[in-house]
Subunit: 105 residues, 2 copies
Amino acid sequence: MKKYGSEEERVLAFKALSDAKRLQILELLKARGESCCSLVARDETGLCACDLEDALGVSQSVVSHHMDALCRAGLVLREKRGRWMYYSRNEPALARLAETVAKEI
Amino acid sequence: MKKYGSEEERVLAFKALSDAKRLQILELLKARGESCCSLVARDETGLCACDLEDALGVSQSVVSHHMDALCRAGLVLREKRGRWMYYSRNEPALARLAETVAKEI
DNA sequence: TCTTCATATCCACATTTATAGATATATTGA
DNA sequence: TCAATATATCTATAAATGTGGATATGAAGA
């Protein structure tokens, strides 16, 4: 299984995790929660940005920046469906990171 | 086994890991390397600050700050022996962190 | 087409972090 | 006691990051 190989990747991942709000976001994504604004089907996977905005109590641009950090680190996936951007955990990447911490840090 | 329980502890730990020089320091501590300035016994555990200063090519105060970050996060232990401060990996803490990433992030 | 809405990006500002030189503290050895 | 050494702390500065308001983009629906 491919690890978080380069030092640069690792730094990016740990940076993404070194913020309380972003840890909360990963937690929220784990629970998956209610669908966006009660407008979309309950069986959608992922959460849209406005869900996170409500849940975290921060401005829309802040959510967008945090999601960008998590996506750049590869820990979260983004997918546009209609006018919403859905975010979901990249479980394989999170598992590789855990493996890296266990074996190589 | 106790995990990295509080969010605050986790943030501190990830912040400590989100820097290339600090990752290198953990690597150097794993190898343990030569003893300080060839002045102390070869079977000493840990590395002193001046070893790290040489290995990383940064100023003394920078080493001190980085070690402070790693110690505050609990990932590294410091022990003063003579006029040298010896640093070593806190393996149980690193293992708990790996467990936390695997199970709770 | 026009309006509304969701989100990314831009901009400005505040806070945090990294860095290095200078100084202080403490230990060792002469 | 004094000089040398190792390291922490102080100070200043530069760089990175977090934040939120404003604007731009793009999709949906009337």
